[in-house]
Subunit: 440 residues, 4 copies
């Protein structure tokens, strides 16, 4: 494929590692469908209405079985899509193959070069006779960025952007502040069903999974420090504590720090514990949280990994010095070896630990996917003046709708307000049930 | 005292059960001071500034050792106060005595009649030559209500209302919607440090304490249902589960219901489990959640209690029928006895279980008290046009300040952002650290 | 009563604080009966058989509502009893009154002097025309000791001793080793249903209850050290951790220490953490675990309490020096005040924290009581040569029977082995189900 | 290799899949060494003494990196070994290669045929000029069985058998009862450090790992039933509950059932919940616990797996009927498909779930390995009459020694008894610290 690009094939219908792997990818997609009841319910309910009829969606997200279920749902609701990866490592090649084989315009493979990465996105954004994109579904803001920079005219035709990630949302708010955002955007990263389910509940499980698969480490009796006690950090801490790990927390925000204390974690500065811990996890969304200096003081065998979006939380760059030896011991696991033979175990070269080592739990992705689909529907169908060129949160009622799509999975039975109770609380019987500032 | 009122003593300087109990109350206050480091720190830092100089505060809250620490802090910061109880059962008489003895205008005793309750509040609100109130600190909205209704002119002189409770806040928003709120009000009930600390962390402990003290019930192996999975419900569920109780949850809001499921609780309708549970807890802030019909089907010995603000969550009224026998077995514990000898065990006659059976954890009250004090300071000192006649949330920076006042208690060490990091995140190094919509 | 003793009334039928309180005590007993389903089931099943017909039991245990249920069960099964307290502080006077009023020979009141303590026991042990004891139910070994020392001849008539406590069992093994034990004894302290339920599950709840009632301390965010990670220590640690406390453990046994580590607790020497902890709990059954030296270094406000049997775990004696001021702040709570105003908060003067502050959970006591009753029945009815003058553990089958008596309370449904499975496992279908060395 | 066998090579020095893979296997062993501090400490301390000088050990266990560390330790202590696999699926081929390459007589590969399995064991047991085995280290009893049956004379020369598994121990007790055991055997399966660490703490982590790797299932909100609440079941239940799963338990033993209840699990018969659960786990050591009838009633997508030793807990055999379709979806994961398209997901064809999907936590294996090595040393060096031809438990002091070897890993600091305390407790200062019946 990289050759194919080099070969300059002008307008390939798709570009994946090996389309012949499609059967295996299709099986993965079918497995995913079983664990994504919400998005499947939405597909079933809305496929006659076709609320995305004539939508032309540029997608730029991780590409895996669960994304495939989203893509095929968008198609079932009437949309046409072109899709690229938002990360050069996270594509499941077989799934990309299955989608390509099913006729979708997919441009992605695991281990893309930087150049190929942008080329892929461009294949989705570039307008043509047959392709005038009118929606963007982004994870990280790269598609939005490229479109804005390179295809400014076409960008103006976009009816709405749906953005899933912290970084992407951050970039949108900056664009908006700078007055450069000329279309409405929806921040689904901060919808309740996203922050609580993807960040908290999902990471509670994936931190365990990522560490186990890569290092087979036993958690009982170990000591760990988690940097950042936001949603992701809370999930990591809860899981590790439950499996018998002694957990320390670092924080910059006094409120989160106090929460950590009340939840039974000692709040420390990284330096206070760095010599004694067996595991270091970053979950801040910040940069330079774990520095070379910290790593100098870690003990032999210390495992270091990152659960945040970007790969600068751990200053991996600073480990690329001649005195240190890098040894790849398994896929996604490097030993960094000091002259005195001390090793630290680095996962995924400081990139997102969980995406590299396993797929996300389908159920959480189902929640996220349903949220994304609903946000696309809302922006695509909203009357012209409901949304201006600004960044919006998902309306609470839609958040609640996403949640209710998923209750049957757990055989969870909702109570209904009586008329009298609704009146007493001043609520509509079908919601929304909480004020906007409610924190859950 | 009821007699004193009857005697019509026009302007008593205070009215408590027995001022002679002051020494014992003072000891309780001193114990409380030790567990309220935040408010004590604030007292120490601000007592020279006197930011509440000339403030004349009407207070209407539960009256206990912790409130006394708040009151004496407000005084130390320059304020004069007059104070009544917001609940006829919750006053600690010795504490009221200690405050009265120290010269504060306190009007409260445990077991006030309805009439006495309003008389007490009125003693605080009524303006006079020597008393022109300019601030209200309310818990439930009764002082605000009485002032608005009975002393409308004086009410206009108020610079700000600080309200702590769900109910009171609800009433403020209704006043505001109805255009009747003519002064700025601050909703501290929904500040992070209040909702997370008072509701979640405090109730996690007080539900256990309340049930133990009143019934000595063993939690291991029991089955309980918690109605409402908001902050209070979450705290109750977490504690009970940790002590080996099987917990079921009822909810009307699909998001909270999904959280309950992900946290490992079965979400049911009350009817599905009412026959089998040993404990029923309401924490909805709603009315008529547990009805006579439910109670008919409870098993012998079932314990029923309420953690919500009002006493209508459990329809206690419906139990006052001739076929049922009420037997008081301990203070705050009634057995309701059916003709067939079935007993249900009702705590606090359906009123707030934890306030009746024990005092609140001083630490949480410290957080709340510091929040209230800061809100009073903010409203009292704000430039004239910062706040209009509306309901406001506490500015995030103050929330963070309250939290930071309490970190030393836990020997918790905050990390500071580097300049580079602050820039990367687009934050001021001293906060606020999160967007307004952040949920913690 | 002390006066009564002084008055030298020769053979009082009972001696309690105030028999007029009997009605209140009876109510407590009735409440306890509801939470003691196992012993009540046993009473119902065996009351026609009267397996304790003509048994004459000397009892020496804590005297509370739950003991009363045991005593009345023994009577229902045919026994006559005389009963004294095994602890000078733990008697519930009203309960003793109710028993006395019902015709039982009870000798106990809260706050007995040392002298009165032994006088009471002697009232039960001394043989007479109408009283030739043939069984002992002991908790701590004091009745056994006194009988052996003072009534050696009568002691030889005893058919069996049932002993509940660590200390008492220890004394029995020593007697046995020294060849002085001339009757069979059953160590019910180490039966599974005792060690796991009374020590582990009960203390998991009572440590919380004891600390709350006495100090109203909030557990979230606090630091505690638990000395001893046996059954009691495990229960304390689990409960505190669940409520958000950071817990450290000290141990002398490497196996228990390793368990603590795997359960997520840092294993330290007391000195390493003594300056920083808010709570110190002893649960070792050892002496001199917390010394004056440790207490010198505790921080202001540190709460110190003991969950072990004896009052020498904390060296309270060493605090009785002229430089320290003792201030009683509540019943069972002392502040020990240093010259520099540092206070430590000592519960129950170093005696059993949970017995002083609340009653034991009836359910656990039900398990213990049923075990004691079955052990008495076994020893009383055993063919002459089954038991020699030695110390025995409860036969596993009886342990299992005790457990099965309690399953209905939890609506727990046992699976039955199929014939084929029983054969495969080499087990009898009705048990015992485990080898003797099984640890649960 | 199967061909090699067929080829009838008389006395191959080893037989593994592909000795060329040794470098990769060596790396795995080196990683394992880092997580097996106890056995490494033992190796370091005893390698000069050579306590196993001239020992000739037949080994028959799972063959993986951790076993390799044990084997190389035994060699360092002076022993010669010949080793086969105790399970046809569990061999890590690269590790076997590394051992063979290092000169060890290893006979094992993943996916042996039944015939090859016995051939391999026989290669270790058959005596010859150069090989007269005098010790057996067994896991399941197959080596013991074969030796006894086929090489009865040589069997008599054995100085001791060390057996690790439930099954093997069971077979030993049966041999002993039948009078056929003519050499001493040590049951290390029931040593504390084995039952608590391997069964409880290890399975707490491996159940999560096994399910995640094979199915990527999300645990939050799911319902699971665990059959058997022994050590393994307890571990599984604790982990699942901690990650938000609703867990039910089935039991035949009332004591374990009561423990489950007190730990917060509903105790049910399998039929009561089989329709609603998402996950079914067996951990009984029994047979026929999950039957075809149960599987008929499971819901679509239900995951079924076994944590017990044998593959008859789930009646997998009954699923091999023409009406059901088996589809292999991943390595060790089968979908069993009903005519109506219902699928159940079966792990490892009902064999040990955790061994098939991942390696055991090195740390727990370190505990087990150290225990095995110490048991071998004890039996090999014991004076002639200390052990008769019977089955023994590991002496408590050695159990404690194993534990103490591992404390430094966790930076755990043991407290030492003072002379006075030791005397008070009647203990030796260096242990053993508990009576034999102590349950931990
Ligand atoms: N791994 C995943 O599957 C996954 C899922 C969701 C989100 N994420 C990513 O994880 C990161 C965290 O997400 P979140 O939802 O928890 O965000 P968050 O904002 O809720 O939490 C981050 C926390 O880190 C703290 N922090 C910032 N700088 C710090 C520093 N230098 N030291 C210590 N603490 C610091 C902040 O105060 C904040 O409380 C983001 O980058 C997000 O994109 C990852
Ligand atoms: N006991 C205390 O110490 C204490 C402390 C703080 C707050 N409170 C009181 O507790 C109550 C709850 O507070 P909160 O912060 O948890 O509020 P919340 O709004 O976070 O939670 C209440 C929950 O109840 C649910 N609910 C409403 N009606 C219901 C019904 N009929 N059935 C089932 N669920 C229903 C709502 O959806 C909501 O999720 C309030 O009345 C508050 O004043 C008590
Ligand atoms: N409070 C209650 O309700 C209650 C209930 C049951 C038992 N107990 C009492 O609690 C005590 C403990 O009972 P248990 O069943 O846990 O006994 P246990 O033997 O299981 O545990 C005691 C632990 O303390 C350790 N230990 C001994 N000396 C030590 C020292 N100096 N420093 C640190 N650790 C030390 C021992 O190694 C042991 O593991 C006993 O005295 C018992 O009678 C109290
Ligand atoms: N997967 C692993 O890594 C691993 C590790 C150690 C042991 N094991 C194996 O796991 C099994 C269990 O080991 P354990 O230490 O927990 O044993 P255990 O004896 O402690 O527990 C087994 C429990 O199952 C119960 N039981 C028996 N038949 C039952 C039935 N029909 N229904 C319900 N419950 C039933 C028993 O009463 C017992 O309490 C053994 O086969 C053992 O070899 C596996």
């Amino acid at each position: 494929h990289e050759k194919a690009i080099a070969a300059g094939q002008a307008n390939p219908p798709y570009c994946v590692r090996n389309v012949e792997q499609h059967a295996f990818g299709r099986r993965e997609i079918e497995i995913a469908e079983q664990e994504m009841p919400g998005i499947m319910a939405l597909r079933a309910r809305a496929k006659d209405d076709k609320p995305l009829k004539d939508a032309k969606i540029v997608g730029c997200t991780h590409i895996n079985a669960q994304t495939a279920v989203l893509i095929e749902t968008l198609a079932a609701l009437g949309a046409t899509v072109r899709w690229a990866a938002c990360n050069i490592y996270s594509t499941q090649n077989e799934v990309a193959a299955a989608l390509a084989h099913a006729g979708f315009a997919i441009f992605a493979w695991r281990g893309e070069s930087e150049e190929a990465f942008w080329w892929c996105i461009d294949q989705c954004c570039t307008p043509s006779n047959t392709w005038q994109p009118n929606m963007i579904l982004d994870d990280g803001g790269d598609a939005t960025h490229l479109m804005l920079k390179k295809h400014a005219a076409a960008f103006k035709q976009i009816k709405g952007i749906v953005e899933e990630s912290v970084t992407g949302v951050h970039r949108l708010y900056q664009l908006s502040k700078a007055g450069k955002l000329c279309v409405p955007a929806m921040n689904v990263n901060d919808s309740v069903t996203k922050t609580k389910f993807d960040n908290l509940y999902s990471c509670r499980e994936s931190i365990i999974d990522a560490l186990k698969r890569s290092t087979d480490i036993m958690f009982g009796g170990k000591q760990a420090v988690v940097c950042g006690y936001g949603e992701v950090g809370k999930g990591c801490c809860q899981a590790l504590k439950a499996l018998g790990t002694v957990v320390y927390v670092t924080e910059i925000d006094p409120i989160c720090a106090l929460q950590a204390a009340m939840d039974g974690f000692r709040v420390v500065k990284l330096n206070e514990v760095i010599r004694q811990v067996d595991i270091v996890i970053t979950a801040t969304g910040n940069k330079g949280v774990v520095t070379r200096e910290h790593m100098e003081r870690m003990k032999n065998g210390c495992v270091v990994c990152n659960m945040g979006h970007s790969n600068t939380e751990i200053d991996v760059h600073a480990l690329r010095t001649p005195d240190l030896l890098w040894e790849r011991v398994r896929s996604q696991v490097d030993h960094i070896i000091w002259p005195n033979d001390k090793r630290i175990v680095l996962l995924a070269e400081g990139r997102l630990a969980n995406l590299c080592c396993s797929s996300l739990p389908s159920f959480v992705v189902s929640v996220t996917a349903a949220t994304q689909a609903l946000a696309l529907i809302e922006l695509y169908n909203a009357p012209q003046h409901r949304y201006k060129a600004d960044v919006y949160l998902l309306p609470k009622k839609m958040d609640e709708y996403v949640a209710s799509l998923h209750l049957p999975t757990f055989d969870a039975h909702l109570t209904e307000l009586t008329d009298e109770q609704a009146k007493y609380l001043g609520l509509n019987k079908v919601g929304p049930f909480k004020p906007n500032y409610y924190r859950y």
